[in-house]
């Protein structure tokens, strides 16, 4: 998973902090992204993901701590970092009044490269938007904009790619295509740091960091994170879902109950018996009550960790 041909990790973050006035956006976080690794930042809005991206792409300076990208310090060597990273901001940030090919040629020229020099890298993506190359960028659909933005971030063959919520607001098909593209790039040796609010996308990453309120809750492979859930999770369903939620929350043996898709997920105390619990609910007048164990997902881990603080 981690290629050891380079002496430095792709990204190294040590006790990094950044505040905006009273708000502590990042609170002493540390992690490492290996060469050729696809590393995911998973967290809700306002967790500090974008702040981290802006720090690592040298757009802002940290208050405390240090970080390096490609072995280069984000403060001392920011100019050299800018030469070799690709950044796709969360908000679409290409020139709306330039055409597809003008945008691409412009960003290539800023890095002093020709589009055809690195065409092999972007070809699988660019081919899909090439039929619209003379169209103004503001006339593109959301999915096409994302693809163009990725092309522009890749055109100088960066060694590290920063993608800030690239799949937010993109339809399910385009999201899958997008992840296929990322696997391709990873295969070409590009290290990728990607953030997403979608927990299901976490499984596509080599490793993920769960981040909340500027702090990292856990860093591990998606599988290990799920395995680390460490208790049985129950799914509760029945006819009156809202009534069941309230009833379950009143039960002494239920530590936590939250809606999850079509069921409610239950975190329970030791000694919890699902059959007795279901019977008790039926006795109080609920119909079709079912309580069965389910496999925990990353979202469940997240909720559990957030609850524990």
């Amino acid at each position: 998973m981690i290629a050891h041909t380079h002496p430095y990790p792709a990204i190294e973050v040590k006790a990094l902090s950044k505040s905006y006035g009273e708000v502590r956006a990042l609170d002493g976080i540390s992690f490492e992204v290996g060469r050729g690794e696809l590393f995911g930042l998973i967290g809700p809005d306002g967790a500090g993901k974008t702040t981290l991206f802006r720090l690592l792409t040298t757009l802002i300076a940290p208050d405390q701590g240090s970080a390096s990208v490609d072995g280069l310090d984000i403060l001392a060597d920011y100019r050299r970092i800018r030469q070799r990273v690709g950044y796709m901001p969360g908000r679409f940030s290409l020139y709306p009044d330039l055409t597809v090919e003008e945008n691409l040629a412009f960003f290539a020229a800023l890095f002093d490269v020709k589009v055809r020099d690195n065409y092999d890298l972007i070809a699988p993506i660019y081919r899909q938007i090439e039929p619209f190359r003379t169209r103004r960028t503001d006339k593109l659909s959301g999915g096409m904009k994302q693809k163009l933005a990725l092309c522009c971030a890749l055109i100088h063959r960066p060694s590290v790619l920063f993608l800030d919520e690239p799949t937010t607001g993109v339809d399910a098909v385009s999201r899958n295509e997008f992840w296929d593209i990322l696997f391709n790039l990873k295969a070409k040796g590009i290290s990728i740091l990607i953030s997403t609010p979608y927990m299901d996308e976490a499984n596509c990453c080599d490793r993920v960091a769960l981040i909340n309120e500027g702090k990292i809750l856990e860093i591990n492979t998606p599988q290990a994170i799920v395995e680390g859930f460490g208790e049985t999770l129950y799914a509760l369903s029945g006819e009156d879902m809202f009534g069941l939620l309230e009833a379950a929350r009143r039960d002494k043996e239920v530590r936590r109950c939250y809606p999850f898709g079509e069921t409610h997920h239950l975190l329970t105390s030791p000694g919890f018996d699902p059959r007795r619990f279901a019977e008790a609910l039926t006795a109080t007048g609920f119909c079709g009550v079912s309580v069965r164990p389910v496999e925990a997902g990353i979202e469940d881990v997240f909720i559990k960790r957030m609850g524990n603080g």
């Binding site: 792409t57 757009l59 300076a61 020139y95 709306p96 009044d97 412009f106």
Partner: protein
């Protein structure tokens, strides 16, 4: 240098593709040079006059004829009662009332003349004030003629007034060089600032900042197109002034372009400083309107600086357009040389330096 060319290529593509700016370059100087000099004039004509003639003498009739013949006055009413005329003045039909009292001519001959009463409507202070003044001149002229008819001395020739450099005292000739400055303030100070903030609004600046492009080069690439546009528009405006009003600079073009360069630099610096402190176009617009108001009203464009109170005159020392307007008017009308206007050029140089330094300082704080 290579990056600058890449950025300039992008800027020009955007400007040409923009539906607004290429048209602005043509329409702006046309409107400012063809319409403004006619409407923004301080020459007061067609003052509505009512004459209350209680004398009915040769003298009073002569005065009425004079008023009727003049291009400056329109005789609205000739009555015998002051109250009637006052009613018309209150209604807004009349700007000035001239009341010639009974037995005025007789008393004039007798040596101790009755007084003529002039009543002016002060709501429009300019029209009322100038109207009353013109009437006084006309009356004095009429008296002089009457006296000379009777063989008296020709008192009307007591004064000879000559207006140097603007012989007919054309307000337009004083106005036009100053109007050109408005073009430069808007094109070279405000458009690049709006463009810079536009990149903040669309978020593109975030993408650019993550590339090796330096902020200085980036800002320079924003300014150069507008500098070129500014000089193009200034040249069009000067050509129009010559073609339409026959007004060509008496002094050298070099003196004008040197001053324009310094002025454009200081306006760009001001624009960038404002853009650095703003995050939306509205913010930039409001701050700039504030500066425009001050520049228009306090730089000697409309009212002469010498007639302002001392404290206001002191404030005008900090307004770059003040120096540029002084240079333009002097070079255009008097043909003054750069050497003679040295203090003004030095002031503009200082402003260019300080404002650009401020621009550089404010954007370093952004990281």
């Amino acid at each position: 240098m290579r990056i600058l060319l890449v950025l300039l290529d992008k800027e020009f593509r955007q400007i040409i593709r923009n539906a607004f700016i290429p048209r602005l370059v043509l329409i702006f100087p046309l409107i400012i040079m063809l319409i403004m000099p006619w409407v923004a004039t301080m020459d007061v004509r067609h003052i509505n006059v009512a004459v209350v003639d209680q004398d009915h003498s040769a003298a009073s009739q002569r005065l009425v004829q004079k008023i009727q013949a003049s291009d400056y006055f329109t005789l609205i009413q000739l009555s015998e009662h002051y109250d009637e005329s006052l009613a018309r003045l209150e209604a807004g039909d009349v700007d000035v009332i001239v009341e010639i009292p009974d037995r005025f001519e007789k008393s004039l001959l007798g040596g101790s003349p009755e007084r003529i009463r002039i009543t002016a409507n002060g709501v429009n202070a300019m029209k009322g004030g100038l109207g009353a003044q013109y009437i006084v001149q006309t009356i004095l002229g009429t008296f002089a003629e009457l006296q000379s008819d009777r063989g008296g001395d020709l008192s009307s020739d007591l004064f000879v007034v000559e207006n140097r450099y603007n012989p007919t005292l054309e307000y337009r000739h004083y106005m036009i060089p100053a109007l050109m400055i408005m073009l430069l303030i808007l094109l070279c100070g405000f458009l690049p600032a709006l463009n810079l903030v536009g990149e903040k609004e669309t978020g593109t600046i975030e993408q650019i900042n993550a590339t090796p492009v330096g902020r200085f080069i980036f800002t320079l690439a924003k300014l150069i197109p507008y500098w070129l546009i500014g000089f193009l528009v200034l040249s069009i405006a000067m050509l129009l002034a010559w073609l339409v009003y026959g007004l060509a600079p008496v002094g050298s073009l070099g003196a004008i372009y040197l001053a324009a360069t310094l002025f454009v630099l200081s306006m760009s610096g001001l624009g960038i400083t404002i853009a650095n402190g703003s995050s939306t176009m509205q913010q930039v617009m409001f701050v700039m309107f504030f500066f425009i108001m001050i520049f228009v009203l306090m730089s000697g464009l409309i009212t002469p600086i010498a007639s302002m109170p001392d404290w206001a005159q002191f404030i005008t020392c900090f307004l770059p357009p003040r120096y540029f307007i002084a240079i333009m008017q002097a070079v255009y009308l008097k043909g003054t040389t750069i050497a003679e206007l040295c203090p003004n050029y030095l002031a503009l140089t200082a402003f260019a330096f300080v404002l650009n330094l401020l621009a550089a300082l404010t954007y370093r704080k952004q990281i």
